[in-house]
């Protein structure tokens, strides 16, 4: 194959992977799994940007999409995930709260 045809094939494959990745991210309903899917989607996007001859954007997308965004998301998820909290030892007025299962939508 000529180099131009090879490049075309690479770009089409990368585009299809990105489309599939986006569908996968949207269809995952569990929070933590969705963050992992987003991380993989970021890497697929980075491959696509590289095939589009944009190394700058590739670097940005790799650092942000695979490092910064998943960390920020996981920290937020851990904050809203309720689990049984033990009684606060320093506060005599704080009763131990009963465990309330968080509403995880399972579709």
């Amino acid at each position: 194959m000529t180099p131009a045809a090879l490049m075309d094939t690479l770009q089409v494959v990368a585009l299809l992977l990105v489309g599939a990745g986006a569908t996968a991210v949207v269809r995952t309903r569990n929070r933590v799994r969705q963050v992992l899917a987003l991380s993989v989607y970021g890497i697929l996007l980075a491959i696509l940007f590289l095939a589009f001859q944009a190394p700058d954007v590739t670097l940005s997308e790799l650092t942000v999409g695979a490092v910064a965004l998943p960390i920020v998301l996981l920290l937020a998820i851990s904050k809203v995930h309720k689990r049984a909290e033990p009684a606060d030892p320093a506060d005599p007025a704080d009763p131990a709260r009963p465990a309330q299962p968080d509403r995880k939508p399972e579709r």
Partner: protein
């Protein structure tokens, strides 16, 4: 309205949206046949005018520098907004990381495995160095303030990921991060204003352009601006992660 009605409504709206998209894309010159003169003109003139071989950074910090100032201030505002939104509400108290009861301490793992700690700690130094290098070499390579700043921030985050949570808190005091972020954002604005003070338009490139295209000391204000942007982005991201971490320490007091 019920979920099904909502879905049908969305289907109709999405069909309309896709129709408009396809109509718009039909008017574009196909993929790969970029016709616009602006890109070609910049490619021809950028290296001669700014002595920067990285044309994308030249566009970012010189030709479209005003847009980049705006983007940087979006970043600044987002970090500041997070600090405001996540303030301590009445009734919340910060839990000291060490005053756990025995059952609580046994319930959650306190020591990250060595397989994570050791590589993470080993990678902190090289990551910081790479981030610093990227932020200062915008004019030659596919690098620049934005990418270098995020990588520099991730060096700090690696300290947290390796389990050294207290070290992370000690190394990233909010006051210092606020100051660094402000220096970064203000530095960019001040460089532009310094051009105005000399009688040029805002963000005009007034520093000496250097001899070799693409050397570190060439391209005038581009390298300097990229360095300040790197500082600002790194501080903003470490602040963001620090805010979210501080949230997980807050404990709700009843009533």
């Amino acid at each position: 309205m019920t979920s099904r009605q909502r879905l049908w409504f969305f289907a109709v709206a999405a069909a309309g949206l896709v129709a408009c998209y396809l109509w718009a894309f039909a008017g574009l010159p196909g993929f790969g046949h970029y016709p616009g003169p602006y890109g070609q003109v910049i490619l021809n003139e950028a290296v001669k005018q700014t002595n920067a071989t990285g044309v994308v950074s030249a566009v970012n910090f010189e030709y479209r520098g005003f847009d980049t100032v705006g983007e940087e201030f979006i970043l600044f505002t987002a970090a500041a907004g997070m600090s405001v939104v996540l303030r301590k509400l009445r009734g919340e108290r910060e839990r000291q990381p060490l005053d756990e009861t025995d059952s609580a301490a046994a319930a959650r793992p306190t020591q990250t495995g060595s397989a994570i700690r050791i590589p993470a700690l080993l990678l902190v130094g090289p990551t910081a160095l790479i981030g610093w290098w990227l932020a200062s070499h915008a004019q030659a390579n596919p690098s620049g303030g934005f990418q270098g700043g995020v990588i520099l921030a991730s060096a700090f985050i690696l300290i947290y990921l390796s389990g050294e949570f207290l070290t992370f808190r000690r190394l990233s005091p909010v006051a210092l991060l606020d100051a660094v972020e402000a220096v970064g954002a203000a530095g960019f604005a001040v460089i532009g204003l310094a051009a105005v003070a000399q009688g040029f338009p805002y963000l005009y490139n007034y520093l000496p352009l250097g001899q070799t295209p693409g050397a570190v000391s060439s391209s005038g204000t581009i390298a300097l601006i990229s360095f300040f942007v790197g500082l600002e982005v790194a501080a903003a991201f470490v602040l963001i992660v620090g805010e979210l971490l501080g949230q997980s320490l807050l404990r709700q007091r009843s009533a």
